[in-house]
Subunit: 342 residues, 2 copies
Amino acid sequence: MTTTIAVDAMSGDRGTEVTVPASLSILRKDKALKLLLVGDVEKIKEELGDYSDVAQRVEIQAASEIVEMDEPPALALKKKKDSSMRVAIDMVKAERAQAAVSAGNTGALMATSRFVLKMIPGLKRPAICGELPTLSGHVRMLDLGANVECGPDMLRQFAIMGSVLASEVDGIEEPSIGLLNIGAEDIKGSEVVKQASKLIADSGLNYHGYVEADEIYSGRVDVIVSDGFSGNVSLKTSEGVAKFIMGVMREEFAKNLITKLVALIALPIMRAAGMRMDPRRYNGASLLGLRGTVVKSHGGADVLAFECAITDAAKQAKMSVPDRISAAVERQLESFESQTSS
Amino acid sequence: MTTTIAVDAMSGDRGTEVTVPASLSILRKDKALKLLLVGDVEKIKEELGDYSDVAQRVEIQAASEIVEMDEPPALALKKKKDSSMRVAIDMVKAERAQAAVSAGNTGALMATSRFVLKMIPGLKRPAICGELPTLSGHVRMLDLGANVECGPDMLRQFAIMGSVLASEVDGIEEPSIGLLNIGAEDIKGSEVVKQASKLIADSGLNYHGYVEADEIYSGRVDVIVSDGFSGNVSLKTSEGVAKFIMGVMREEFAKNLITKLVALIALPIMRAAGMRMDPRRYNGASLLGLRGTVVKSHGGADVLAFECAITDAAKQAKMSVPDRISAAVERQLESFESQTSS
């Protein structure tokens, strides 16, 4: 069965220059994929070049506007009804695509997705869920920045959504859930985190309790739940630390002729190590909680990274993640009702 | 002039095994330093061995109790009045020492310091300020976990305290201050962060606005202000990422005979790089806002790391950091009053 993904072709720092080559590349690899490229038809066609080999699986959908990276979400939602972002999400709503991918303005993407697709009943707010590497595989973490302030019940909902994603897309049975806190002891942490911990513990999920941020990359749990502020701080800190460590390495290896020679010899090993940690391979964060699949790519994504975001969207679309989340939320509600009525 | 530091000799995962050798080592390097070793006299003496060369600069102060790492702070404060931690802080209060160093329970150290030494007038809560490496030097960041929830005015106070520390101890004129947020745009972030930004901008400090967590290690600013939850998440994430990257490197270099050989050749360079990032060299976080200097060492500190914490305390004591913070707070109040009365 074919999966159709709507691609916001105008999004990201480099627009069609990245989105179109990435689309062509993934189409050539995945024969069961169909893409709807949304945006400026002329620009898209120009970038497509000769695509006769995949032409039956490409459709171009015109959209006359572009949401700017620094545009206030509410304004984008109100004024730009023919933006490439909006039209891509409309395609999902109209069931012409099973998922949308955009490298655009996160806030606008959130607001537009929520407005067009609506939330799954029982869920309050969408969360951004990302994939991070660990020594033994990877971990899913949410929220990475959609919700600056989160109450205990929102954190419980994130736990459910993350659990579904890890079980459906990663194939993990009963994924283990950790709640981000600043101390493993019960006495630490904010009131919100403490209350959320109780709610998640009662939710029937495979809850492992608090995790501290130094355990994120240890692979101790499959899913990490946090509010959007801390989640985003953690994600961005990781990028900064990785850059810093690589910077120091580079300086030390560039010190003199001998160190440069050693660098040359060590290069293939360093490259192999770099590959395993390559953030491009983890590009593509899921907007969970919506009645449709939307994946957010990093704005600065290159072709490889944007390709990964499309692949991620295709996987989620195939596994009908929104339906699974909806079912999980219903089960939770039923079990809660049977508990309170008994 | 001699500086006297009170050392909680029983603190940390390994107690006197680490604190006493570290004390001896730093005494042999810094002839202007005097140490008060606080704790179990027998154990301290046993660990001291032959210390005749520095004996005039060592004093042992008996304390019969130890605060456990997982002991609730309020309980430690109430019940253990003769703990090594409490007595070390008492020494500062009694002006027998200019600073105290402990690798013990952070919460108990905070509560005890606050109870014994009191806050500087005009400041609400102490903050934990740490030093982190950057490519060009280092950055000071606070709060790293003392205050889970922080209002806008607390964040402004942290900015003042961090600025004083960076100017007095690091010798930076008008240190640049950044406020941790999840987006550089004005529209992002919580209400608290937005309000804090306005307060800091009006404070007369060298305020550079918002910084995202990926800029912490870039050295863009000298001081980073955040609430204790995000600050701790960022700090712990950094530890986790560093461990993860080193783990991947180790695995790749250990893959086969050839990679192991390359590792051997690259070892001195990797070691030089490692030295520059060595967290032990950055051990010692300052508890700022108190009427005395207290430095918290990592619980798992080894001899070198604990030595760094003592050095840090000595520097702050020499520069009378609490007095400088007090003066800065007064200046702020005066300028505020003259602004409102004009």
